[in-house]
């Protein structure tokens, strides 16, 4: 399934990019360059060859792991992606963790207090948060947490003064490895608002799914049996209830993860985070075929891998599921 999906995706993106008007070389080099120079660049990049030849060449290179050279940045696409992906990964992981730690317990609480005031409050808050565009939330957080209260820096990824350890590129993780808690804390402060922004946006969905899933299992016989055995309520809910209700929640988390990894352009722009979203946007604006095709290809692989990982999680969570 992976191979046909990838093939279809890459082919459609390739031809779509070549159909859209706009000369990528002219966009990359600007209006001042003489036409003969532009033609020379086109020739060197193979853009003057027939499109089917370009396609075959591109697919051959992709299979070899060569994503090509970015028109915009003039470096191999994989270098630029490696530079940007850690930021997106850090942003996504933090946001997902926050969303899970907020959304799932809220959903469980809403299920436990079904029909009550707490349930209604949680559902109304979820709807309210879901209705707010993420960029609006981002600006609100910047204004109140950054400007008014002065708790967090307005934007950026870390303090530029001082050495930042670089191992994986995920600064939070690298600083812990280097036991540099000053950098850790600095990075945490810079990333908290972006995490909050993207996390809060996913909380409503996670809480609703958690609530629905838990309500499904609350009526099951084994829940009654567990209570009858005299187990404490939290054990009944978490060990018996949640364990059985977890599968849809895992699916939702996985979906959120891949959705966020695909790029959170606006959040990256607002918080000045050099991630994949802005890279994809720059690529689109600049008709950077290689960049767009590379990002889409890698993203497809990540989606497939994430889905595979979710399947493994299913098997781990539910012994009845065979992987």
């Amino acid at each position: 399934m992976i191979i046909p999906t990838m093939f279809l995706l890459l082919t459609s993106v390739f031809f779509l990019m070549h159909i859209i008007p706009g000369d990528p070389v002219r966009l990359a080099y600007g209006d001042e360059m003489p036409e003969e120079f532009i033609q020379d660049i086109r020739h060197r990049m193979g853009l003057d060859r027939p499109i089917h030849e370009q396609y075959i060449e591109y697919m051959k290179r992709f299979i070899r792991g060569d994503l090509g050279i970015s028109f915009t940045y003039k470096i191999p696409v994989r270098y630029k992606m490696l530079e940007r992906y850690p930021t997106t990964l850090e942003l996504t992981l933090g946001g997902i963790i926050l969303a899970v730690f907020l959304g799932v317990p809220l959903g469980i609480l809403a299920a436990l207090k079904k029909g009550g005031a707490i349930d209604h409050i949680i559902r109304i808050m979820s709807l309210y948060l879901y209705s707010n565009p993420s960029f609006w939330l981002a600006l609100l957080f910047q204004l109140y947490l950054g400007v008014v209260l002065g708790i967090f820096p307005i934007s950026g990824r870390f303090n530029l003064i001082g050495r930042v350890p670089h191992v994986t590129g995920i600064i939070l993780f690298d600083s812990l490895l280097a036991q540099d808690f000053q950098v850790f804390w600095g990075n945490f402060r810079y990333m908290f608002m972006p995490w909050l922004t993207i996390g809060i946006v996913r909380v409503p969905m996670l809480s609703r799914i958690s609530r629905a899933s838990m309500l499904n299992v609350f009526g099951e016989d084994y829940m009654t049996t567990a209570r009858a055995k005299g187990l404490r309520e939290w054990l009944v809910v978490y060990r018996h209830g949640l364990r059985n209700a977890i599968l849809p929640i895992i699916t939702s988390i996985g979906g959120s993860f891949t959705w966020l990894l695909g790029g959170t352009v606006i959040i990256e722009k607002i918080f000045s985070l050099p991630g994949m979203g802005s890279l994809l946007m720059d690529g689109l604006m600049g008709r950077d075929f290689a960049m767009i095709q590379g990002i889409v290809g890698i993203y497809a692989i990540i989606v497939v891998l994430t889905n595979t990982f979710i399947d493994v999680c299913y098997a781990a969570a539910d012994p009845r599921v065979k992987f």
């Binding site: 950054g146 530029l160 050495r163 985070l273």
Partner: protein
């Protein structure tokens, strides 16, 4: 016996009193000592805290935080990437032979060169002879000499276009316009032989070399070692030029830090004549903000001291009332906005001079400047800026001074004469910028007064570029900014038939001849009087034939916290935020009761 017993008791009591008194006094003493120690410890702790706070304030006062939204940069000094050009070399990491003065385009101050002279050799070739200052050293210890200058310029011109990394095409153009050959007759003398079209016309090469962020001078040794195509990007950190700042660190997409070059000399003419040794700062931190609003908030919280490039216009107007922030608006240093109309027959009747003049009569830039630019621009009546020689706004200014009703009446008559009494429909294209759309909307209302229906068409940026370059836009808005203070800078590129940037089908050999004549009449020792006549004729022709309809001169700006001293906008360069070497901050008087912003 009784007496002895009594005496024993008395002795015991006295002894007890003495012992207890002793203990009590000893205890009190200990207590007093302890209290003294505690007081001393407390004082030391308070003093340590106070000193730590002072140290934090001192660190803050010795660091300048600048915000920019130039997102893409490269640590190389002259690799030809826009970010590197705009960010690093402009802040003063690369050197120049001369520096254009902060306030006057016509004044060039010594940089690496101590003198310069326009000469001609026996073969009649014009060249500029520079004398390089003696004793200058790059930060890597190698000598700054004429050979280094030749190397630097030739590297930009010959090597960069071959590099995959090269992007900023203006580097190439700078050198094409600036020189045809460089010679080094001795170690401290450089001859810059001028191109054929600039034998006497030196504003162009001079401006490209010294007012724009090109032709920076780098150490050949460090460039060969660290800044070749094969080097990793981190290696470029070690490439050095001759400027008051050294690149200390960079983080892609996040920002970079610079530290003073300790051996850079103090400028005898002062820090507003060109770079000078940095003495009041230990570090320059440049932070990237992808979003102007975030940059504004960062400025308001003090996270940055200067918002160099570029807050939004609405924010600038809003912040002008702030008591904590100073807005420096450099008038006329932004784009000159021009309405262009196609001459191609498929967009008739726009190619009819009468129709064009009709449109010229009804277009009124005042509401555009007031509503779209929030008053930050100036109405323009000629493409030539007010600070340039032969500025001649009268032809269009006189028309615009007429009452509105009269202008509309004249326009209607012209439309009738052209055969369009009921008007016609045409389109104006734009690429999504809000200001362009708002300007087009105002133009739409104005043209409707004479029956012209103007459809506003949004196209994606890449498509838009193809369209205006390919002559496919009936109408569009085009901007241009001058690179040097001569009317040629503004007129040549707008009116020569080989439009570099857009194609509206305008082709007039008579205009070409006038432009050539104007350029050739330039004399570095003083223009002949007929040159003024040529440029007045050109500006009159623009209005008589409605070749282009100029709307306004936009401004440039930067914003800074009031605690930043000494940092003033450089009004004569493409980037007004040059001059960081002059900036400093004082520790505030209330430092003991507050914390630094960061």
């Amino acid at each position: 016996m009784e007496t002895l017993k009594k005496n024993y008791i008395i002795v015991i009591i006295v002894a007890a009193i003495i012992v207890f008194s002793g203990f009590y006094l000893y205890n009190q003493n200990l207590k007093a000592q302890r209290e003294e120690e505690l007081t001393q410890q407390e004082e030391e702790r308070v003093e340590a805290l106070r000193q730590a706070k002072y140290d934090r304030w001192e660190d803050w006062s010795r660091t300048l935080y600048v915000g920019t939204n130039v997102v893409d940069f490269h640590p190389g000094i002259n690799v030809g990437r826009g970010g590197a050009t705009n960010s690093i070399s402009i802040y003063g990491r690369g050197g120049k032979l001369l520096w254009v003065d902060k306030d006057d385009w016509s004044i060039f101050n010594p940089g690496i060169a101590e003198s310069w002279e326009w000469k001609q050799n026996a073969a009649g070739e014009a060249y500029i002879e520079y004398k390089i200052k003696e004793g200058l050293k790059f930060p890597d210890g190698t000598t700054v000499n004429a050979a280094a200058v030749k190397y630097s310029w030739e590297q930009e011109y010959f090597e960069l276009p071959e590099r995959e990394i090269h992007q900023d095409t203006y580097h190439l153009y700078t050198h094409e316009m600036g020189w045809k050959r460089l010679e080094v007759p001795d170690e401290l003398t450089l001859w810059q032989f001028l191109p054929e079209n600039a034998q006497t016309y030196i504003p162009l090469p001079f401006a490209f070399m010294y007012a724009l962020p090109h032709a920076t001078i780098v150490s050949p040794t460090s460039t060969e070692q660290y800044a070749k195509e094969s080097n990793d990007i981190e290696d470029f950190l070690n490439q050095v030029g001759y400027g008051p700042w050294l690149l200390e660190s960079f983080e892609m997409g996040v920002g970079y830090t610079m530290i003073p070059f300790d051996d850079y000399p103090v400028n005898p003419l002062g820090g507003y004549a060109g770079p000078t040794k940095v003495t009041k700062l230990d570090r320059l931190v440049v932070k990237i903000y992808g979003d102007p609003m975030s940059m504004r908030m960062a400025l308001e919280t003090g996270e940055i001291d200067v918002a160099a490039w570029k807050l939004s216009r609405a924010d600038i107007v809003d912040l002008q009332d702030s008591s904590d922030i100073t807005i420096n608006i450099a008038e006329e240093l932004g784009w000159t906005m021009i309405l262009r109309m196609s001459y191609y027959p498929e967009f008739a009747p726009l190619n009819d001079t009468r129709v064009r003049r009709a449109i010229l009569h009804v277009v009124d830039p005042d509401p555009i400047v007031e509503k779209v630019l929030y008053g930050t621009g100036i109405v323009a009546n000629t493409p030539v800026h007010t600070f340039n020689p032969y500025f001649y706004p009268e032809p269009l200014a006189e028309i615009r001074a007429l009452p509105s009703a009269e202008r509309i009446a004249i326009a209607k008559e012209l439309m009738i004469e052209a055969g369009y009494p009921d008007g016609f429909t045409t389109q104006i294209f734009y690429d999504g910028a809000d200001e362009t759309r708002e300007t087009a909307t105002i133009l739409q209302q104005q043209l409707a007064q004479i029956g012209i229906t103007l459809e506003i068409k949004l196209v994606e940026a890449g498509v838009y570029r193809e369209m205006y370059r390919g002559g496919q836009c009936p109408m569009y808005l085009s901007g241009w900014s001058p690179d040097y203070n001569d009317p040629d800078a503004e007129l040549w590129y707008l009116l020569r038939h080989e439009h570099l940037y857009s194609d509206d089908g305008y082709y007039d050999l008579e205009m070409d001849a006038l432009l050539e004549l104007g350029k050739n009449l330039y004399n570095p020792l003083g223009d002949p009087p007929e040159r003024e006549g040529v440029y007045k004729e050109i500006q009159q022709k623009i209005v008589d034939e409605a070749i282009d309809i100029v709307l306004y001169y936009d401004s440039s700006w930067m914003a800074q916290r009031n605690w930043v001293k000494g940092y003033e906008p450089w009004l004569t360069t493409a980037r007004i935020y040059l001059g960081t070497w002059n900036a400093y901050k004082d520790i505030p008087a209330d430092w003991e009761t507050s914390e630094p912003p960061l």
